[in-house]
């Protein structure tokens, strides 16, 4: 075991290297590119066996990833944002092939407007695809999650591809000290890939991903994938228990921070949850019983664990770093559906949207969120969803608009 300063991208590449991946189909996109550059360099200079190939698009990259996995090798790939969407047809398609592999998504906001900075609308678009999803908050967690993801996806009870998600810039380019596990310890945790019958061999001809006619066989295979994803809840718990036993780091499906005696909970995914964690500490110092829940596993959705952790709380603030146009926060809706009708469900489940396109969420905003929830608890009424935005930000945008108008007026007046 060695300890190094690694970016989130570097940690992802180390995860792939330690998982002894055979094949890395790639395509560059900010802020993910460092991952494939790192792996390509290792493969080029012989530090890592296997093959890396740059395709001409993410659509092709994900096709090649699925096809190689269907041929029986261990595959790793990475993308982000527009790339994930460009390949989305194949995200859904290859998930149904039941040929597991791991894909990193470095979260980045979606066009329009086009941006480089992070939020979770990209990964939410893959929510219903059949890929399982693990969301990370630290660089160490990125490396470890890649190893856990292979064990989860390759398990005979699951056999589905897994996305490991990390936030662009905040994690992808942030250096943190990361423990790099020993190869032997990783080999003990993660067996070589057994493709079972999902492979192409001359002696064992087979047809994969064939068409079906009619709703009955179609529904059968779709239900099978869903049930396999649900099996992932047990398999994930087993995998992280084994991981903790081997490496001493705990990665429960839902991370609960200072929740036991909390009256109010924040719920967040990804690296911005570390901001919420700091706010919890400060609120605690101010005498407020606030805690934080951070689902790491989003697919399969750990509903039972979330319901249990939220049981008996006075109020919950779900802070979504995504926005479903005309609906609101995706995570909020998922929690509401998990909690509905549960006897001890918190009476207030408030929705906040923030952190879009890399917009920061300040400590003061967390305090305000806690205050809003506290008032809602007192009033007995859940407030309408709130879009986080400050007066200063509005003033900055008004300035940009003023410049835009001034420039246009000048052009139009022919000066």
């Amino acid at each position: 075991m060695t300890r190094r300063l690694l970016t989130g991208n570097g940690a992802a590449a180390w995860g792939a290297r330690l998982a002894r991946v055979d094949y890395v189909p790639a395509f560059p996109i900010t802020p993910q590119t460092e991952i494939i550059e790192t792996l390509a360099a290792w493969m080029d200079n012989g530090e890592m066996p296997g093959r890396s190939v740059t395709l001409e698009s993410e659509h092709s990259m994900i096709t090649a990833a699925g096809a190689a996995a269907a041929t029986g090798v261990r595959v790793f790939t990475a993308t982000s944002s527009q790339g994930l969407l460009y390949g989305m047809e194949m995200v859904y398609t290859v998930a149904g092939w039941r040929a597991p592999f791991v894909m990193i998504n470095v979260s980045r906001g979606l066009a329009s407007p086009i941006t480089l900075e992070p939020d979770h609308n990209d990964i939410m678009a893959a929510r219903d695809s059949g890929f399982l999803q693990i969301h990370c908050a630290t660089c160490q967690e990125v490396l470890d999650s890649v190893l856990i993801a292979y064990r989860l996806g390759e398990d005979a009870r699951v056999r589905l591809p897994v996305i490991v998600n990390l936030d662009g810039f905040y994690l992808s380019f942030t250096r943190e000290p990361v423990e790099i596990p020993d190869t032997q310890a990783v080999e003990g945790f993660l067996s070589p890939y057994d493709p079972e019958s999902t492979r192409f061999r001359a002696s064992a001809p087979g047809s994969q991903a064939v068409a079906v006619l009619g709703g009955s066989p179609y529904s059968y295979f779709r239900y099978e994938s869903h049930l396999a994803a649900l099996n992932g809840l047990t398999v994930y718990d087993e995998a992280v228990s084994a991981f903790a036993a081997t490496f001493g780091r705990e990665y429960r499906a839902v991370e609960a921070y200072r929740c036991e005696d909390a009256e109010i909970l924040f719920v967040m995914i990804g690296s911005f949850a570390t901001k919420a964690r700091q706010a919890v500490d400060q609120l605690r110092e101010a005498g407020q019983a606030v805690g934080l829940l951070r689902p790491r596993l989003l697919r399969p959705f750990p509903a039972a664990q979330l319901v249990q952790l939220m049981a008996g709380k006075q109020g919950v603030a779900v802070i979504d770093q995504n926005i479903s146009m005309g609906m609101g926060g995706v995570l909020h809706a998922e929690l509401a559906s998990a909690l509905y009708g549960k006897p001890d469900a918190p009476p207030v489940l408030a929705s906040f949207i923030g952190g879009l396109g890399g917009r920061d969420i300040s400590p003061e905003e967390f305090y305000e969120i806690a205050a809003v929830v506290r008032r809602a608890v007192a009033d007995g009424e859940t407030p309408a969803p709130q879009l986080l935005y400050t007066r200063d930000e509005m003033r900055e945008v008004r300035k940009l608009q003023t410049i835009a108008h001034a420039e246009r007026n000048e052009l139009e007046s022919g000066q």
Binding site: Y23, P25, L55, S60, A64, E89, S207, A211
Partner: protein, 305 residues
Amino acid sequence: MTETAFKRMKDLPSTHLLGSGTPMCAGCGGLAALQEIYDVLGSRTVFINAAGCMTLLSVYPFTPFRGSWLYTAMASAPAGAQGVRDALDVLLEQKRIEPDEDLGVVVLTGDGAAYGMGLSATSGAIERNLDFLYICYDNEGYGNTGQQFSGATPHAAQTATSKGPRGFRGYKKDLFAIWTAHKPAYVATVIGAEPLDLVRKIEKAKQLNGPRLIIALAPCPTGWDYDPRESADIGKLAVKTGVWPLKEYVDGKVLHTKIPHPRLPVEDYLNKQGRFAHLFEPKRNTTLLEEIQQRVDDYWADIEA
């Protein structure tokens, strides 16, 4: 290159590898070509398919193939071939499978994928010098959705989306030229109605490494509107009128493998198909017929000289 095993018609296989009873239409020129191709390729192949008519060859739980099959999507069959080929290569290099477990990787798509949506993936695969065979069955339109025009549709053909008196306003894209511009190992045009020419080209392609691409003109009774029994005759006429030149590209040179002589008038080919009926009825469209003939004459002018 070794001497061909197919010197005359009686050298062609008399039993076929491809199973019968597929849901392809009666008289499908694409299936005729595929049947001839598969006999030469053999069962140690994995077909990587894109969305099109032939996606319906393998419908759960049936397949006419003795070998393997992977359906991908409309745009990315060559990328699927990349993944399969690379995975097999890794397994072979690391001695995780025996050499006799290897498979020939064959992309199978229609013209919709080959001429349009899949062109980027094809170009990428050729540029990466992928060792694969691409077979395009070209029925000159989006056949599986009811024959709307595609980038492969010939000038003046009526399709479900070009029903006007002049038919399709565009011109058939020169996919052969697009492919050869990439300098791949091999490119050839074939047609099921000329089986000897076809099997020799597949035989040659099979012996080469790198990107090898075959365009099979696929007379299509439903899309071209003619009686299924006419398929072979229409295929032969496509060659005899010079509308479908049989040629190959190898070592940087294009060679015509069958120069029609005498070359029949294009009308003989066009008037057998409902999609061109508007050129003859209710009134003969001399201008358009002459234009089509002129284009074919222009193509052959240099070659016949």
